[in-house]
Symmetry: C2
Subunit: 550 residues, 2 copies
């Protein structure tokens, strides 16, 4: 059977645009001789639609778009597409009003052939907020072109007790559709990428194919939805090997024949290439979703802003990126030199807006309430806020979107000034630990220096007072990051983290308290592009609480 | 049977403090002759604990605190207290690892006697993220002092098909515990207040008592958790009447005798009194949770900042509130006069920090990138950001928490400057429509003018350019607010809203687009004290999407 894996980029809420894309791909699939075209989870409305799903007007528009789509795709080609499904039993029996389902478009009509059983409600996922689970996944088997196709949706494929070593949910829908007679299993997914996820999915899908002795057709979304970056990573696997592996972070159409031999070995990109791919896609899609073409970045001469600028250039092109240097009386000589060198390397515009005059003007303006007090945090933050205000002024005036340059280490401990350097509509690298920032910067320089070597190598400093270094307040990042990884990404306790890393328990406890106390800043932070399995969007701590560990 | 309703204020994460409070109330209940003391839902860890629940260290600390609490409360007094419960079946059968449950503390030990069946996962609630539902609520019946007590938890009481006119969930746990033999039903709740909720709960609990012919003991949390304001509203109801109604927004202990006649009629406060109670509690608890005593507010002479200042004074006392006037070249004469009059009325400190010099300094600093451009939004926003920066400088220097003063109408349409007037750690009135702001201000003035009459009566203006009025960009608020209520609080479509309000459909569509386009600002907004059933914390739209209605 010839099946088309349609790895498309669907935009949340863009029912018309997504339907047009599906129609286009279905036409191409038919032209390529496919007997079935498979699209990702919720491909019609985009993923995740969040509270658009509680708006009856949106649901009505969705249903109309689905009916229209069924008429638009080639009538003779069966098409499986992820869509929202009404739970007809909710009114009489109770339960959530919707399902996350799959329509078979064929002969001009849409017929619901499957609904999702396992609804991820953890990390960045909130599906139980909207959807009722399918109590009988074994019924998700549909005859298409003489074959019995088992249809599962994303998380449905993530509960193989043998693969995971434990049962996560009560039911394994893949097992059920095979028990229900499926000869081929298709999984319509919207699985966002994080480090290692691409390799993990390949192993998991291959394990399911081997266990059940059926071809697995895994079709995943591609493209960026604010924080979440879908890499595609679609895959056709039989116990004997792989038949298709579309390129990551790009739309793709791959037609496979389940009756032909499949012998390819898995192919994976280096982690830095995947990180770059996710971040570049994330910047590009976010900036364009807001109707912008251009981005502006404050360039300090340091590594964080340099990396963001390089990624922005890869996403938008050098003519669409502007850098602004804003030296103060405390800035090092090299800060402007390095920023300018970066701008030259990247081929972007660079503007210099010194802030000394503004510092003096604020000193005068604040004299009635600051007189007689020693300089401190208030003055340090003020510099950062002057810069944030200049950047937003430039952004507003010239139609740029401001990118904020904080990294995950800073966000974790709150080493940033809210309404200052945190200003920005998107945080491209706030899910990269500082040590990862260096790693990715070096990787971007692998074929020639784009980020100045001094920016990569100099000791980190906020330069908010003379001679300041990050290590005045924090341990060196190679020491700090492993501790923060334990506390933030692994949810280890202070005691466990101390045992694991060797840092004294009291020092770990101080860092834990800093992490907890910074929640109010993260709560007002820009959306952060997801790179790790525990990004800030999936970290939902109370903004204020009194839990402390020692 | 003498039952103590223990309406306590529990702080999220404060296991030690909450246990001490429970111990104190249990001692007082015993002294008052109670045979059973009932505490709210999750009283030991506070509500909602959010992702603290995914930290094994927190769960271990919780379990240790529960065991210790069982030894601390009077051994002879049975105590029902809401707590986190391990789902022992999760490892073998799959499912969420926890239950939201109830422990019976008696004789020095804690025994789990109930777990929650209905897990709210909508609006501000995310319980399916953490908890596995109880599949057999009829077993939540425990013998205490010779009576069979049915135990349900919050949402378990919110599914009476006869009362609601429809089935929301498949199971009605109150019906089940009565079928399971309960003679008395206790409901341990953490139900946050919103307008009308207090009256609704009274009717609902009374209806359950009448339907099942049993006394209902409803014990609700009081106190503020960031956005959510718990009003208490605990209640003992029999078909014949009410026995106890502790005061709203205060901790209370009420002992009722289920065998005595109960004849009180329901008592409710005016909506403005409840709004004020919620907002004052919210400001006080939030400021103190951050270890602050003081708050600062930018005073424009307008109604929004005046109302916030008055509420802050009621929450913190006049000596703990500072107002700052920051007139620009475009400010009206009355802006400073009215702000100063407010400060005098409220007895708070008032500082004047004119921004003309800063505007000029920014004009100079930005000349390299602004030269030759006409003044516009960038310059308007700049004024707002200068003010936001001055306020944060004052806050940082003097240890104040900055309150932001935006209302719900502005937040809805994005009529605010991000990193400017949106600066602040808490948004006290961003869930009040502008028309409600006027209403509450007038109510606060009912016994004498606190908020200057001109602030209440003058036409709203951001004063960012000469002669500017809100009505230059927006319909008058009495016209705008009903439209926004339809779009935001009732999820009506553009067409339905136009039909309901009489506003032309194209104009409604423009407002809908403004609401959707402002999501990125709301996403970086301070936590907003919840007043309505659809506050921003419960409104979870995608930050960027392409759904539009016309």
């Amino acid at each position: 059977m010839r099946i088309a894996l349609c790895q498309i980029d669907a935009t949340v809420g863009d029912l018309t645009g997504n339907a047009a894309r599906i129609t286009d791909f279905a036409g191409r699939a038919q032209a390529a001789g496919a007997e079935l075209a498979v699209f990702p989870e919720l491909a019609l409305c985009g993923y995740p639609p969040e509270d658009l799903l509680v708006r009856p007007g949106f649901l009505a528009a969705h249903d109309a778009a689905l009916a229209e789509l069924a008429r638009a795709v080639p009538a003779i080609l069966p098409v499986l597409v992820g869509c929202v499904v009404r739970n007809e039993l909710a009114e009489s029996r109770g339960g959530r009003p919707l399902h996350n389902g799959v329509a078979l478009l064929h002969g001009g009509v849409a017929r619901i052939v499957a609904t999702k059983t396992l609804l991820p409600t953890y990390d960045v996922f909130d599906e139980s907020r909207y959807f009722e689970p399918n109590p009988a996944p074994e019924r998700n088997v549909v005859a298409i072109a003489g074959r019995r196709i088992g249809v599962v949706v994303c998380e449905d494929g993530w509960n193989d007790e043998r693969f995971f070593g434990k049962r996560i949910y009560a039911v394994d829908p893949v097992e059920r559709v095979v028990a229900g007679g499926a000869e081929i299993v298709v999984n319509l997914s919207a699985s966002p990428w994080s480090v290692g996820k691409d390799a993990f999915r390949q192993r998991m899908v291959a394990a399911a194919s081997a266990r059940h002795g059926v071809p697995m057709i895994y079709v995943n979304l591609v493209g960026g939805d604010v924080a979440l970056q879908f890499d595609g990573g679609s895959l056709a696997v039989k116990p004997s090997g792989i038949a298709a592996q579309p390129v990551a972070f790009e739309e793709a159409l791959a037609v496979v024949d389940t009756d032909a031999p499949w012998t390819l070995a898995p192919r994976l990109l280096p982690v830095e290439a995947m990180q770059r791919g996710a971040l570049v896609q994330g910047i590009r899609s976010y900036v364009r979703k807001f109707g912008f073409q251009k981005a502006v970045i404050g360039l300090s001469g340091g590594i964080d802003s340099a990396l963001v600028a390089a990624l922005a250039v890869d996403a938008l092109g050098p003519t669409n990126v502007a850098g602004i240097g804003m030296p103060s009386r405390w800035s090092s000589d090299h800060s402007v030199v390095d920023a300018r060198e970066l701008a030259v390397n990247l081929g972007i515009a660079f503007h210099l807006l010194p802030i000394d005059g503004l510092q003096e003007a604020f000193d005068r303006a604040l004299a009635p309430v600051f007189a007689g007090t020693p300089p401190g945090i208030a003055e340090e933050n003020l510099q950062s806020r002057i810069r944030g205000t200049l950047l937003m002024a430039f952004a507003n005036k010239h139609g740029h979107l401001l990118l904020t340059t904080g990294n995950k280490s800073e966000c974790a401990v709150g080493y940033c000034t809210i309404y200052g350097d945190t200003n920005g509509a998107l945080a491209p690298i706030a899910d990269l630990w500082k040590t990862e920032v260096w790693g990715l910067a070096r990787w971007l320089n692998r074929d020639g220096v784009r980020i100045p070597v001094r920016s990569v190598e100099k000791p980190p400093s906020a330069e908010l007072r003379p001679g300041q270094l990050d290590t005045d307040s924090l341990p060196p990042y190679p020491v700090l990051d492993p501790v923060l990884r334990c506390l933030v990404e692994e949810d280890l306790s202070v005691a466990e983290t101390a045992a694991r890393t060797g840092m004294p328990r009291e020092r770990v406890a101080d860092l834990f308290a800093m992490v907890m106390a910074a929640e109010w800043k993260r709560n007002q932070y820009a959306p952060t592009l997801r790179v790790s399995e525990r990004c800030w969007g999936g970290w939902r701590l109370p903004v204020a609480h009194r839990y402390r560990e020692r």
